[in-house]
Symmetry: C2
Subunit: 187 residues, 2 copies
């Protein structure tokens, strides 16, 4: 196992997982990739990580086999980042963090940030993993996601701030930012 020098040798799967993902920035990067982001700038914009922080996390995620780099441009050479099977398998952890966060860190004025609807029956699955209408267990692939207006606005603001004139030269042509991957906004 890729070791963390601080971690004791243990068969505990929770401790072993935390050796790889026991850092909030790493989990934020994964969240963003599950939102559909594949390029450095997209991930940077929405996680608000510095380029250095993001570079470290992407290297570490690549070293632990959770993401892979694929070239999308030859001149200049640029890469996209894609989740591997091991990376995609981390989704239940993100989903559980989402359920806990929606339950304990929201006030009444705030909507659920991303609603998941069971594609087959059209019912909102709430925060659980079983469709309340059909009674069947659902996975991410069975669900359609819709972002709340508030979350969509917050993300658009971060994007606009990044693309403001002062930063145009940094972003340059071919940054290929395409917005929120596979999640639609309700409007």
């Amino acid at each position: 196992m890729a070791g963390n020098a601080e971690a004791p040798d243990t068969v505990c799967p929770v401790a072993r997982s935390l050796d790889v993902v026991g850092d909030r920035w790493t989990v934020l990067v994964l969240r963003e990739m599950f939102m559909g982001a594949v390029r450095f700038e997209e991930i940077q914009i929405q996680t608000q990580a510095t380029p250095q922080m993001l570079t470290t996390r992407l290297k570490s995620l690549e070293a632990s086999g959770m993401i892979e780099r694929h070239p999308y441009s030859e001149k200049p050479l640029r890469h996209e980042y894609r989740l591997t099977e091991k990376g995609r398998a981390f989704y239940p952890v993100i989903y559980a963090l989402r359920g806990w966060g929606e339950t304990w860190f929201k006030d009444e004025s705030e909507e659920v940030a991303v609603r998941f609807v069971h594609r087959e029956c059209g019912h909102d699955v709430g925060l659980g993993t079983v469709c309340p209408e059909c009674g069947v267990q659902v996975e991410r692939k069975d669900l359609d996601a819709t972002m709340s207006d508030q979350f969509a606005a917050e993300r658009a603001e971060r994007r606009a701030a990044f693309k403001a004139p002062a930063k145009t030269a940094v972003l340059g042509a071919g940054s290929g930012f395409t917005g929120d991957g596979f999640i639609t906004n309700g409007n």
Copy 2:
């Protein structure tokens, strides 16, 4: 929300959760409390955190409402730590980390560290949240846990190392260590 100075304001429930639990030691402390530990020394022994690190995490977990302190001795005043409802609600995240870790960080010589059996039907639920025998969704309260010999041995070793003669004076009387709370070993 209890803010992390680095975190952007966001309605994302994953980011908000990570403000509180986005640190591997915090999650290890919670894992240990879900194993049944309630006292400082027990948590320290099994997480291998230094007293300073553990004190910081316990204070932060208390501040965020995930654990509460209860006195168990008046003279000297000593406290136990117990999960609140908000703390207990974090269990699905630990369970998801376990499932991912068992799948991706184990070789063939290693057993599942903790087996969960559906109490009602006696079948092993594996790494999922639906009993493969009954087809019903199960929660922690529906499951009996049994530790593998390897995991039990590793935990006993850590305990023995902590209680070795050189440390007796530190641990002293009344440390109240009672072993692995609500999990039984298979033997």
